[in-house]
Assembly symmetry: C2
Homo-oligomer: 148 residues x 2
Amino acid sequence: MTATHRGQSEPFVWEGGDPLAYKEDDGTFRSVTRQVLTGAEHGQGTSLRYFEIGPGGHTTLERHGHTHVVVPIRGQGSALVVDRIVPLALHDVVFVPSWGWHQFRAARDEPLGFLCAVVVARDRPVLPSENDLIELRRDPEIAAFIRL
Amino acid sequence: MTATHRGQSEPFVWEGGDPLAYKEDDGTFRSVTRQVLTGAEHGQGTSLRYFEIGPGGHTTLERHGHTHVVVPIRGQGSALVVDRIVPLALHDVVFVPSWGWHQFRAARDEPLGFLCAVVVARDRPVLPSENDLIELRRDPEIAAFIRL
């Protein structure tokens, strides 16, 4: 039976789930951990995950057909969402629309932890091509922001 | 176009949405506000809402076919979930399964604020009948907990 209550053994480490899972290191992200909080068994067709990026770290620059709903619950940072850089303050609501480029970065001096909702049945992320990078870098702010 | 970033005009008050919406007062809840953070337009078939219960307040005791995924992000409290009382600490993950009775209560001295995910296409809540209340109250802890 699916647990009705999952506490934390320490802040931001949830009991009863898989241990902290690290995405396979393909060299495109830095200092990111993931915990799956809910999934198909919760009957909503979505999965809620907790990602934490270490100070100065970042997620992979990518895009895909499924959307993201992101709510930071620890620290702060910033993100590329589609075509602009947005601040990430505690409890802001960030929406990554279908096929929007996105990359999340923690502030230099503290981790950034956020909830991220996705549909369970989702497509795989796509990395930027050389042409995509040329397009993205036309905006100087984005050129200065992105990490590969 | 759906906003890619919703900040807060003050903590726990999100910009760009409906103002704080109060559920119609039917006398079954006390001191509860709601803000809708995401919905059908976010492409996941789910809606993320923020509920805040004032100190000593509570939500309606109810059940329904759709599920809830709840994550407290402000304060603390406790909840009836199905057939037991669970503590609600910051960032605990609470799952209310289909047709599980549930009621959330804030601690006496601080508000309880939580994110709550539901499917967009959902059924209406049902209130307990006299027989349901007799069943629920067989457990002394539940009898002492529930508020009508």
